[in-house]
Protein backbone atom coordinates (compact mmCIF):
# COMPACT_ATOMS: atom_id res chain seq x y z
CA UNK A 1 0.00 0.00 0.00
CA UNK A 2 1.34 3.41 -0.89
CA UNK A 3 -0.56 5.35 1.77
CA UNK A 4 -2.30 3.17 4.38
CA UNK A 5 -4.17 6.04 6.10
CA UNK A 6 -5.67 7.42 2.90
CA UNK A 7 -6.28 3.95 1.47
CA UNK A 8 -8.38 3.04 4.51
CA UNK A 9 -10.09 6.43 4.26
CA UNK A 10 -11.07 5.69 0.66
CA UNK A 11 -12.57 2.34 1.70
CA UNK A 12 -14.49 3.89 4.60
CA UNK A 13 -15.82 6.66 2.36
CA UNK A 14 -16.94 4.18 -0.26
CA UNK A 15 -18.72 2.09 2.36
CA UNK A 16 -20.50 5.19 3.68
CA UNK A 17 -21.61 5.98 0.13
CA UNK A 18 -22.76 2.38 -0.25
CA UNK A 19 -24.85 2.70 2.90
CA UNK A 20 -26.43 5.84 1.48
CA UNK A 21 -27.03 3.96 -1.78
CA UNK A 22 -28.79 1.21 0.18
CA UNK A 23 -30.93 3.27 2.54
CA UNK A 24 -31.25 6.96 1.67
CA UNK A 25 -30.25 8.24 -1.72
CA UNK A 26 -33.29 8.15 -3.96
CA UNK A 27 -33.12 10.08 -7.21
CA UNK A 28 -36.60 11.19 -8.31
CA UNK A 29 -36.82 11.93 -12.03
CA UNK A 30 -39.44 14.29 -13.41
CA UNK A 31 -39.57 15.42 -17.05
CA UNK A 32 -35.95 14.49 -17.57
CA UNK A 33 -34.73 16.37 -14.54
CA UNK A 34 -33.85 15.35 -11.04
CA UNK A 35 -36.79 16.58 -8.95
CA UNK A 36 -35.07 16.29 -5.57
CA UNK A 37 -31.75 17.94 -6.31
CA UNK A 38 -31.36 19.47 -2.86
CA UNK A 39 -29.75 18.18 0.29
CA UNK A 40 -33.11 18.61 2.03
CA UNK A 41 -34.82 15.93 -0.04
CA UNK A 42 -31.92 13.91 -1.39
CA UNK A 43 -30.66 12.45 1.86
CA UNK A 44 -27.13 11.22 2.39
CA UNK A 45 -25.57 9.71 5.51
CA UNK A 46 -24.27 12.10 8.17
CA UNK A 47 -21.74 11.65 10.95
CA UNK A 48 -24.54 10.19 13.06
CA UNK A 49 -25.62 7.58 10.51
CA UNK A 50 -22.37 5.83 9.61
CA UNK A 51 -21.46 2.90 11.88
CA UNK A 52 -17.86 2.20 12.89
CA UNK A 53 -16.05 0.68 9.91
CA UNK A 54 -13.08 -1.66 10.26
CA UNK A 55 -10.79 -1.95 7.26
CA UNK A 56 -8.17 -4.63 6.66
CA UNK A 57 -6.12 -5.12 3.51
CA UNK A 58 -4.93 -8.16 1.63
CA UNK A 59 -2.05 -6.96 -0.53
CA UNK A 60 -1.80 -8.81 -3.82
CA UNK A 61 0.35 -7.00 -6.43
CA UNK A 62 -1.54 -6.16 -9.64
CA UNK A 63 0.56 -7.17 -12.63
CA UNK A 64 -0.68 -4.37 -14.90
CA UNK A 65 -0.27 -1.52 -12.37
CA UNK A 66 2.83 0.57 -11.75
CA UNK A 67 4.80 -1.04 -8.89
CA UNK A 68 1.95 -3.56 -8.55
CA UNK A 69 -0.49 -0.81 -7.55
CA UNK A 70 -4.22 -0.85 -8.18
CA UNK A 71 -6.87 1.79 -7.56
CA UNK A 72 -9.26 1.08 -4.72
CA UNK A 73 -11.64 4.02 -4.47
CA UNK A 74 -14.60 2.54 -6.34
CA UNK A 75 -14.56 -1.07 -5.17
CA UNK A 76 -16.09 -0.52 -1.72
CA UNK A 77 -19.33 0.77 -3.27
CA UNK A 78 -20.36 -2.72 -4.32
CA UNK A 79 -20.71 -4.51 -1.00
CA UNK A 80 -22.77 -2.43 1.41
CA UNK A 81 -26.16 -2.41 -0.35
CA UNK A 82 -26.42 -6.21 -0.69
CA UNK A 83 -25.10 -6.57 2.86
CA UNK A 84 -27.73 -4.19 4.24
CA UNK A 85 -30.58 -5.86 2.32
CA UNK A 86 -29.39 -9.30 3.40
CA UNK A 87 -29.31 -8.11 7.00
CA UNK A 88 -32.90 -6.86 6.62
CA UNK A 89 -33.96 -10.22 5.19
CA UNK A 90 -32.19 -11.96 8.05
CA UNK A 91 -33.99 -9.77 10.60
CA UNK A 92 -37.48 -9.74 9.06
CA UNK A 93 -37.67 -12.81 6.86
CA UNK A 94 -38.78 -10.61 3.96
CA UNK A 95 -36.51 -10.31 0.93
CA UNK A 96 -36.19 -6.90 -0.70
CA UNK A 97 -34.55 -6.60 -4.08
CA UNK A 98 -34.49 -2.91 -4.86
CA UNK A 99 -32.60 0.07 -3.46
CA UNK A 100 -32.72 2.57 -1.96
CA UNK A 101 -34.87 0.88 0.62
CA UNK A 102 -36.58 3.82 2.31
CA UNK A 103 -38.59 3.37 5.52
CA UNK A 104 -41.85 3.53 3.52
CA UNK A 105 -40.63 0.82 1.14
CA UNK A 106 -39.73 -1.32 4.12
CA UNK A 107 -43.17 -0.75 5.64
CA UNK A 108 -44.99 -1.62 2.41
CA UNK A 109 -42.88 -4.73 1.94
CA UNK A 110 -43.48 -5.92 5.49
CA UNK A 111 -47.20 -5.13 5.29
CA UNK A 112 -47.51 -7.09 2.04
CA UNK A 113 -45.72 -10.05 3.62
CA UNK A 114 -47.82 -9.97 6.77
CA UNK A 115 -50.94 -11.97 5.64
CA UNK A 116 -48.79 -14.79 4.28
CA UNK A 117 -46.93 -15.01 7.56
CA UNK A 118 -50.17 -15.11 9.54
CA UNK A 119 -51.52 -17.86 7.31
CA UNK A 120 -48.34 -19.82 7.76
CA UNK A 121 -48.57 -19.41 11.53
CA UNK A 122 -52.04 -20.93 11.62
Amino acid sequence: MLHPVLAAGQIEGGIAQGIGYALYEKVVWQDGRMANNQMTNYIMPTAEDVPPIHVSFEEIPFQFGGFGAKGLGELPHDGPAPAVLNAIRDATGVAFNSIPLLPEDLYLGLAAAQPAEETAAR
Binding site: V5, E12, A16, T40, M44, T46
Partner: protein, 182 residues
Protein backbone atom coordinates in the same frame (compact mmCIF):
# COMPACT_ATOMS: atom_id res chain seq x y z
CA UNK B 1 -9.61 42.99 -8.05
CA UNK B 2 -13.26 42.10 -8.49
CA UNK B 3 -14.66 43.36 -11.76
CA UNK B 4 -18.06 41.70 -11.47
CA UNK B 5 -19.47 44.69 -9.59
CA UNK B 6 -18.18 47.26 -12.11
CA UNK B 7 -21.69 48.07 -13.31
CA UNK B 8 -22.57 49.20 -9.81
CA UNK B 9 -19.78 51.42 -8.50
CA UNK B 10 -18.73 50.35 -5.04
CA UNK B 11 -19.21 53.92 -3.82
CA UNK B 12 -22.94 53.36 -4.07
CA UNK B 13 -22.95 50.94 -1.19
CA UNK B 14 -22.48 51.98 2.41
CA UNK B 15 -19.48 50.48 4.18
CA UNK B 16 -20.15 47.44 6.33
CA UNK B 17 -17.58 46.96 9.06
CA UNK B 18 -16.74 43.81 10.98
CA UNK B 19 -13.77 41.91 12.36
CA UNK B 20 -12.45 38.89 10.55
CA UNK B 21 -9.93 36.72 12.39
CA UNK B 22 -9.16 39.61 14.72
CA UNK B 23 -8.63 42.16 11.97
CA UNK B 24 -10.98 45.09 11.32
CA UNK B 25 -12.35 44.93 7.76
CA UNK B 26 -14.68 47.16 5.84
CA UNK B 27 -16.46 46.28 2.62
CA UNK B 28 -18.67 48.27 0.25
CA UNK B 29 -20.87 45.62 -1.27
CA UNK B 30 -24.60 45.06 -1.79
CA UNK B 31 -25.94 44.48 1.73
CA UNK B 32 -27.76 41.30 0.73
CA UNK B 33 -24.60 39.74 -0.67
CA UNK B 34 -23.93 36.49 1.12
CA UNK B 35 -21.28 36.61 3.83
CA UNK B 36 -19.76 33.58 2.08
CA UNK B 37 -19.22 35.55 -1.13
CA UNK B 38 -17.91 38.60 0.71
CA UNK B 39 -15.35 36.44 2.51
CA UNK B 40 -14.28 34.68 -0.67
CA UNK B 41 -14.56 37.36 -3.34
CA UNK B 42 -14.05 40.65 -1.53
CA UNK B 43 -11.73 39.59 1.29
CA UNK B 44 -10.07 36.75 -0.66
CA UNK B 45 -10.44 34.34 2.24
CA UNK B 46 -11.07 31.34 0.02
CA UNK B 47 -10.62 28.79 2.79
CA UNK B 48 -14.37 28.90 3.37
CA UNK B 49 -16.01 26.70 0.74
CA UNK B 50 -19.42 26.74 -0.85
CA UNK B 51 -21.04 23.31 -0.89
CA UNK B 52 -24.79 23.29 -1.37
CA UNK B 53 -25.43 27.03 -0.99
CA UNK B 54 -28.69 26.35 0.85
CA UNK B 55 -27.61 25.79 4.44
CA UNK B 56 -27.70 22.01 4.43
CA UNK B 57 -24.12 20.84 4.07
CA UNK B 58 -22.13 22.99 6.52
CA UNK B 59 -19.24 23.44 4.12
CA UNK B 60 -19.32 27.23 4.51
CA UNK B 61 -19.40 27.15 8.34
CA UNK B 62 -17.77 30.11 10.07
CA UNK B 63 -18.03 31.41 13.60
CA UNK B 64 -19.74 34.74 14.14
CA UNK B 65 -19.88 36.22 17.64
CA UNK B 66 -19.08 32.80 19.09
CA UNK B 67 -21.78 30.97 17.15
CA UNK B 68 -21.30 28.49 14.36
CA UNK B 69 -23.30 29.38 11.27
CA UNK B 70 -23.60 28.73 7.57
CA UNK B 71 -22.13 31.78 5.86
CA UNK B 72 -24.20 31.05 2.73
CA UNK B 73 -27.34 31.96 4.70
CA UNK B 74 -26.08 35.23 6.17
CA UNK B 75 -26.54 38.51 4.28
CA UNK B 76 -23.39 40.50 4.96
CA UNK B 77 -25.58 43.24 6.39
CA UNK B 78 -26.14 41.01 9.43
CA UNK B 79 -22.41 40.84 10.02
CA UNK B 80 -22.15 44.56 10.77
CA UNK B 81 -20.02 44.94 13.90
CA UNK B 82 -19.61 41.17 14.29
CA UNK B 83 -16.54 39.16 15.20
CA UNK B 84 -16.04 36.52 12.53
CA UNK B 85 -13.62 33.63 12.57
CA UNK B 86 -12.93 31.65 9.42
CA UNK B 87 -10.73 28.61 8.92
CA UNK B 88 -7.85 30.98 8.11
CA UNK B 89 -8.12 32.21 11.70
CA UNK B 90 -7.48 28.80 13.25
CA UNK B 91 -3.73 28.69 12.61
CA UNK B 92 -1.74 31.27 14.52
CA UNK B 93 1.43 32.72 13.00
CA UNK B 94 1.98 29.60 10.93
CA UNK B 95 1.34 27.22 13.85
CA UNK B 96 -1.51 24.90 13.00
CA UNK B 97 -4.44 24.58 15.36
CA UNK B 98 -4.37 21.23 17.24
CA UNK B 99 -7.44 20.18 15.25
CA UNK B 100 -5.64 20.89 11.98
CA UNK B 101 -2.64 18.85 13.17
CA UNK B 102 -4.95 15.98 14.06
CA UNK B 103 -6.73 16.12 10.68
CA UNK B 104 -3.32 15.97 8.97
CA UNK B 105 -2.06 12.99 10.99
CA UNK B 106 -5.25 10.96 10.92
CA UNK B 107 -6.41 11.47 7.35
CA UNK B 108 -9.33 13.72 8.28
CA UNK B 109 -9.23 15.44 4.89
CA UNK B 110 -9.64 13.72 1.55
CA UNK B 111 -11.00 16.00 -1.16
CA UNK B 112 -11.01 18.88 1.32
CA UNK B 113 -14.27 20.65 0.47
CA UNK B 114 -15.92 19.79 3.79
CA UNK B 115 -12.71 20.24 5.78
CA UNK B 116 -12.90 23.98 6.63
CA UNK B 117 -16.48 23.55 7.83
CA UNK B 118 -15.59 20.40 9.77
CA UNK B 119 -12.70 22.24 11.44
CA UNK B 120 -14.92 25.17 12.42
CA UNK B 121 -17.64 22.88 13.76
CA UNK B 122 -15.05 20.89 15.72
CA UNK B 123 -13.44 24.07 17.06
CA UNK B 124 -16.86 25.25 18.18
CA UNK B 125 -17.47 21.90 19.90
CA UNK B 126 -14.14 22.06 21.76
CA UNK B 127 -14.89 25.62 22.81
CA UNK B 128 -18.20 24.56 24.38
CA UNK B 129 -17.15 21.09 25.51
CA UNK B 130 -13.38 20.51 25.88
CA UNK B 131 -13.76 16.77 26.53
CA UNK B 132 -16.49 15.50 24.22
CA UNK B 133 -17.23 11.77 24.00
CA UNK B 134 -17.67 10.14 20.59
CA UNK B 135 -21.48 10.51 20.51
CA UNK B 136 -21.07 14.22 21.22
CA UNK B 137 -18.49 14.57 18.46
CA UNK B 138 -20.82 12.79 16.05
CA UNK B 139 -23.69 15.06 17.03
CA UNK B 140 -21.60 18.21 16.72
CA UNK B 141 -20.46 17.29 13.20
CA UNK B 142 -23.83 15.96 12.02
CA UNK B 143 -24.58 19.27 10.29
CA UNK B 144 -21.47 18.98 8.14
CA UNK B 145 -21.76 16.56 5.25
CA UNK B 146 -18.77 14.69 3.88
CA UNK B 147 -18.94 12.58 0.76
CA UNK B 148 -15.55 10.95 0.69
CA UNK B 149 -14.19 10.05 4.11
CA UNK B 150 -17.22 8.22 5.47
CA UNK B 151 -16.69 10.41 8.57
CA UNK B 152 -14.60 7.82 10.42
CA UNK B 153 -11.27 9.61 9.95
CA UNK B 154 -12.82 12.97 10.77
CA UNK B 155 -14.32 11.67 14.00
CA UNK B 156 -11.00 10.01 14.86
CA UNK B 157 -9.15 13.26 14.15
CA UNK B 158 -11.35 15.24 16.51
CA UNK B 159 -11.05 12.54 19.16
CA UNK B 160 -7.26 12.61 18.72
CA UNK B 161 -7.22 16.38 19.21
CA UNK B 162 -9.25 15.91 22.38
CA UNK B 163 -6.82 13.23 23.60
CA UNK B 164 -3.80 15.40 22.80
CA UNK B 165 -5.37 18.13 24.86
CA UNK B 166 -6.05 15.78 27.78
CA UNK B 167 -2.48 14.49 27.64
CA UNK B 168 -0.94 17.96 27.74
CA UNK B 169 0.12 19.45 31.10
CA UNK B 170 -2.82 20.07 33.38
CA UNK B 171 -4.40 23.40 32.70
CA UNK B 172 -7.82 24.84 33.06
CA UNK B 173 -7.70 26.30 29.57
CA UNK B 174 -9.34 24.55 26.67
CA UNK B 175 -7.45 23.73 23.48
CA UNK B 176 -9.10 26.72 21.93
CA UNK B 177 -8.12 29.10 24.70
CA UNK B 178 -4.55 27.83 24.85
CA UNK B 179 -4.13 28.18 21.13
CA UNK B 180 -5.60 31.63 21.01
CA UNK B 181 -4.08 32.97 24.22
CA UNK B 182 -1.71 35.66 23.04
Amino acid sequence: MSTSESATPSKRWPAIRFNVNGEARSVKVPPMKRLLDVLREDLHLTGTKEGCGEGECGSCSVRMNGELLNSCLVPVLQAEGADIQTVEGLALDGALHPLQEAFLCHGGAQCGICTPGMLMAAAQLLQLNPHPAMPEIREALAGNLCRCTGFMRILESVAAAVDAQSASPATKLTTEQMHHAR
